[in-house]
């Protein structure tokens, strides 16, 4: 009986670590969803593709001999720029046409990148070059790898950076103002187009960072890789309360941990079914998400 208790304890720790890793990825991607929604009320279904684009930029950078520490910022900037271009030539012209056209357009952009990627790069998964030594550490019966540590720490750093950016800089103030009331922000002399572009840039850069980290962690990238994390991140953003930045982080972590606990202790077959049931139950009791309160802090 004693060994069962310690088994349970070790297993639980393993599941929590795996959940935290996956959850950090969901959270990083969810941040972009939530920021873009916060500022222009657009559910950007193409967001998962910025994750994929970041992963591929990282892939080609590392293939060409760049060290990982440099490839990641390059991938972030790269997918940020792609997002800004997409916002400028696709979303901006239809911004005032209402939400539905924008939503459908976002779906179209998502499919465009998935299939253009398959055409240009090829559909088969590519092995991500291991540019850093991915060691596995063992503590008691808990296993974790260098890439897992890297994912959790870099997510944490990026999230703290975002917190600082939104709350303590002039740019952040302008973002919050634009989110709160775009017309009033314009009257105050804020160039809201610039702010929206910047929001897209930051959101996509975070997704790009997540893409590179995922490539490194699992060792594979392919043009369809953005679909599932994009969907899960959307769920995470809604779970935490869409438009609320800490909500995206919390939602991502809750979803990641819940999935791994279901797989570990219960039936793996029903992983997504159970994870999504949790979502539905939470939304039944708190329709605005975990952190959704009356006084919203949007961006």
């Amino acid at each position: 009986m004693d060994s069962h208790v310690s088994y349970f304890f070790w297993d639980l720790l393993n599941y929590l670590i795996n959940g935290l890793t996956q959850g950090s990825i969901y959270a990083l991607v969810a941040l972009g969803y939530t920021m873009v929604f916060g500022i222009i009320k657009l559910i950007n279904f193409a967001h998962g593709e910025f994750f994929m684009i970041g992963a591929f930029i990282g892939y080609y950078c590392i293939l060409s001999g760049m060290p990982f520490a440099l490839a990641m910022p390059v991938a972030m900037i790269g997918s940020g720029i792609v997002a800004v271009i997409i916002e400028r030539i696709v979303y901006r012209p239809i911004r005032h046409a209402g939400r539905i056209p924008a939503l459908i357009t976002a779906l179209g952009i998502s499919l465009f990148f998935q299939y253009a990627g398959q055409m240009i790069i090829g559909a088969d998964p590519k092995a991500f070059p291991s540019s850093i030594e991915n060691k596995t550490y063992q503590l008691g019966e808990v296993y974790f790898s260098t890439s897992q540590i890297l994912i959790v720490t870099s997510s944490l750093i990026l999230m703290l950076f975002l917190y600082w950016l939104v709350n303590f800089t002039k740019m952040g103030k302008a973002m919050r103002a634009t989110s709160y009331n775009m017309k009033a922000a314009e009257l105050m002399g804020i160039d809201t187009n610039k702010i929206i572009s910047f929001t897209f840039f930051v959101g996509a850069a975070f997704a790009g960072a997540a893409g590179v980290l995922v490539g490194l962690h699992y060792g594979t990238v392919d043009p369809m890789m953005g679909m599932i994390p994009g969907l899960k991140a959307f769920v995470a953003a809604v779970l935490g309360g869409i438009g609320i930045i800490p909500g995206a982080v919390l939602g991502g972590l809750v979803l990641g941990v819940a999935e791994n606990l279901v797989v570990g202790f219960w039936m793996a077959t029903y992983r997504d079914a159970i994870a999504f049931t949790i979502l539905i139950i939470i939304l039944l009791f708190k329709p605005s998400g975990l952190l959704g309160v009356n006084r919203r802090e949007k961006v």
Partner: protein, 393 residues
């Protein structure tokens, strides 16, 4: 959020409308497709394969194999006609497969269809071919139920009932393993079918399977298996049977080895792709699979195929290339023997194939329209698949 919901509803309605439109079209042209086409300058054969998506290398290899066979076949011609194939990409997805089969029958008016690879895909397209009365032969789908769709559906490869038994015997007798866990790809008919055959044979021989079919599963496109593997590790098996496809298998084995799980993993022909080595790296050493073909086979016919293939495509052929090659040759042989170019005559000729000597073995199509032929057991290593043993039916 209400706007968002309205948008979703709109999208769904539109999709439903489009699909119902397609169905009407199909009813109208079904009769036209069933009429035999006899006067042709060329024989058009449809090919449904995953050219993109998670099992894309299977489609690409199969079509390479088919094209290689056609090159020499068309020099002489079949009954004085050339064979032309129309390749349709099914992206490795069942819905796309059904659409592809429908398009080939209604738009391209093909004489017969070859394809697909994944059993779930072939199963989605087969009923349409059966209803329209167009022969469909799969060169690579091994799930038992595929050919049970009807008399127009056949295959030129062995089935999982054979493959699963080969691996169960290999695990129990050759490796001497007694305690197995089965990890299933939940989105694949192939994986579920193979798993149940392995379970039955392994327990019948005296082995023990310590996993439940719902507890140790994953879904295609999953990338993180650590929690699943932790659970498997706790069950303490001495062998793991993993009937999946190479993309997920590669990742899973890599993660398992990094967690200190060193027991051998066994799989089926779903592993047989050069991508497996690329994705798993060093971790791939010391695992075993059953497959259709080994490029190390010393048979001169096999070696000739291997060198021709390498010359044409610059890489060693995998099992799917060999199966595609044999598949189209079996089909061409049937068209040669058929009384006419009508769909029914081609079907009868395919179904009566006897002792066709292919590079993947001697192909005889039995009364259930399955091929009886040998399997090989291969050891997976970083440098490729090493031939281990050949098992006859």
């Amino acid at each position: 959020m209400t706007n968002f919901k309205r948008g979703l509803a709109l999208a769904l309605t539109l999709t439903a409308l489009i699909f119902s439109g397609c169905n009407k079209q199909k009813e109208e042209s079904a009769t036209a497709a069933a009429a035999p086409v006899t006067n042709l300058d060329e024989i058009v054969i449809g090919a449904v394969f995953p050219m993109t998506g998670p099992i894309a290398t299977y489609g690409q290899e199969s079509v390479n194999g088919i094209n290689l066979a056609l090159k020499s076949l068309n020099e002489t011609g079949v009954k004085g006609k050339k064979i032309r194939i129309v390749v349709q990409d099914n992206k490795g997805e069942p819905v796309e497969s059904a659409n592809a089969v429908r398009k080939l029958i209604e738009v391209d008016k093909v004489q017969a269809i070859i394809g697909s690879v994944a059993s779930s895909n072939t199963l989605a397209g087969a009923p349409i071919a059966q209803q329209s009365g167009v022969p469909l032969m799969t060169p690579a789908s091994t799930n038992e139920t595929v050919t049970q769709t009807g008399d127009y559906i056949s295959r030129s490869c062995f089935t999982d009932a054979f493959q699963g038994v080969v691996m169960a015997k290999f695990a129990y007798e050759t490796l001497g393993k007694k305690k197995a866990v089965i990890i299933i790809d939940n989105s694949s008919d192939y994986s579920r079918g193979l798993a149940s055959v392995f379970r039955a044979k392994f327990t019948e021989m005296g082995g023990q399977v310590v996993s439940n079919d719902n507890d140790t599963t994953y879904t295609q496109k999953d990338t993180d298996f650590r929690s699943l593997l932790q659970k498997v590790k706790r069950a303490d098996p001495d062998v793991i049977f993993l009937p999946g496809y190479y993309t997920e298998v590669g990742l899973m084995i890599k993660q398992a080895r990094s967690m200190g799980m060193n027991m051998p993993f066994l799989g089926g022909d779903g592993w047989d792709s050069p991508k497996l080595q690329e994705l798993a790296g060093e971790a791939i050493n010391g695992n075993y699979i059953s497959s259709h073909f080994s490029s190390e086979d010393s048979d001169p016919r096999v070696q000739q195929f291997v060198s021709e293939y390498e010359k044409a495509y610059g890489q060693k052929p995998g099992a799917m290339a060999a199966l595609g090659y044999d598949g189209i040759l079996v089909m061409a042989d049937a068209i040669m023997r058929a009384n006419s170019f009508s769909h029914a005559d081609i079907r009868d000729a395919i179904n009566s194939t006897k002792n066709y000597i292919g590079i993947t073995g001697n192909i005889t199509i039995d009364e259930n329209r399955n091929a009886k032929k040998s399997a090989v057991v291969l050891e997976t290593t970083v440098s490729g698949m090493k031939f281990k043993q050949k098992v006859n039916p």
